[in-house]
């Protein structure tokens, strides 16, 4: 339970805390879906191939007029989002395994 509270605290801050980007855009970066074309490639790389992000990727998004603070927020939301999907997959699989284990034992 303790992890859950700390995890929810983190996601609440990055999605709904004070910032320069809209909550809708932050949620889209978190979900890696429904993003404007200018952000789509970068956030998808953050989610799936972060080691391939280059200076040019960041410069290209900045050239569209987005501020550094907005980019800071959206990259964080993209990273938290992908790590969250993995985390939730693990927790769901664990809950299923425990539940079925309990059924077999009874």
């Amino acid at each position: 339970m303790e992890y859950q509270k700390l995890y929810q605290d983190l996601t609440r801050h990055v999605l709904k805390g004070k910032g320069e980007s809209t909550p809708q855009l932050r949620q889209a970066a978190f979900d890696n879906t429904g993003l404007p074309a200018s952000l789509n490639a970068l956030i998808d790389k953050v989610a799936h191939q972060p080691y391939k992000v280059t200076d040019n990727d960041i410069a290209a998004v900045k050239a569209t007029g987005i501020t550094e603070d907005q980019l800071f927020e959206l990259v964080i939301c993209g990273a938290v989002g992908q790590a969250s999907r993995q985390y939730q997959s693990g927790l769901t699989a664990l809950a299923e395994a425990i539940q079925e284990g309990g059924r077999h034992a009874s």
């Binding site: 303790e2 992890y3 700390l6 995890y7 605290d9 983190l10 801050h13 990055v14 805390g17 004070k18 910032g19 970068l42 790389k45 953050v46 989610a47 972060p50 080691y51 391939k52 992000v53 200076d55 960041i58 550094e68 603070d69 980019l71 800071f72 927020e73 990259v75 964080i76 993209g78 990273a79 938290v80 992908q82 790590a83 969250s84 999907r85 993995q86 985390y87 997959s89 693990g90 927790l91 699989a93 664990l94 299923e96 395994a97 425990i98 079925e100 284990g101």
Partner: protein, 193 residues
């Protein structure tokens, strides 16, 4: 780092703190530590609290085992900064750099317990494939890992799948091996808070 705000956008008091740390440690604060000082209410403070709980909070896993998990996740994500940072920290905890190297490069034969190996393989799959299923968990449980240990390992896995992404996207500078050794000593003594 790739955003100028992360290089020089800190408040005056924070810049003074960075200067003092450099003066006393002999090394500039690594980018992983600098990042959490930028607008800390947005990301840094809640992220530090989660990471501290996962890496140093109550758990059947030792700090060294959790550092090994962090190094392994970072290795699979090919995150240069985090591989070096957590390889050094795990090696410091175990007093055995070779063991850590074997885990990263040859998990099947590395000299670790079946409990740890099975857990590393599960978080490895989760990191590489982004998903695991109940069968994967049954395999880990059958190896003798408790559900609480699995939950603890998943928290470490989350913390480093997140940190690895930020390290690579923001472009954390990779300092010298000596700086990583100093960082490892700090993380083992003080943790992430």
């Amino acid at each position: 780092m790739r955003l100028e705000i992360l290089n020089s956008g800190y408040k005056f008091g924070t810049k003074v703190l960075f200067g003092i740390i450099k003066l006393f440690s002999g090394y500039p604060l690594p980018d992983a530590a600098r990042l959490v000082f930028y607008r800390p209410d947005f990301y840094g403070n809640p992220a530090k609290q989660f990471t501290q709980r996962a890496m140093r909070g109550p758990s059947a896993w030792t700090a060294g085992e959790r550092e090994l998990m962090a190094a392994y996740v970072s290795y699979l994500n090919e995150c240069a900064f985090c591989i070096k940072a957590h390889t050094a920290t795990a090696a410091g905890a175990y007093h055995d750099a070779e063991k850590v190297d074997r885990v990263l490069t040859d998990i099947k034969n590395a000299p670790i317990t079946p409990v740890l190996r099975s857990t590393l393989q599960m978080i490895g799959k989760l990191t590489r494939e982004h998903t695991v299923n109940a069968d994967d968990m049954r395999t880990v449980i059958a190896a003798g890992v408790s559900p609480q240990q699995i939950e603890d390992a998943l928290a470490v896995c989350f913390a480093f799948n997140l940190t690895n992404r930020l390290a690579d996207a923001f472009g954390f500078a990779v300092p010298s091996d000596e700086a990583f050794e100093a960082g490892a000593e700090y993380l083992l003594k003080r943790g992430y808070a």
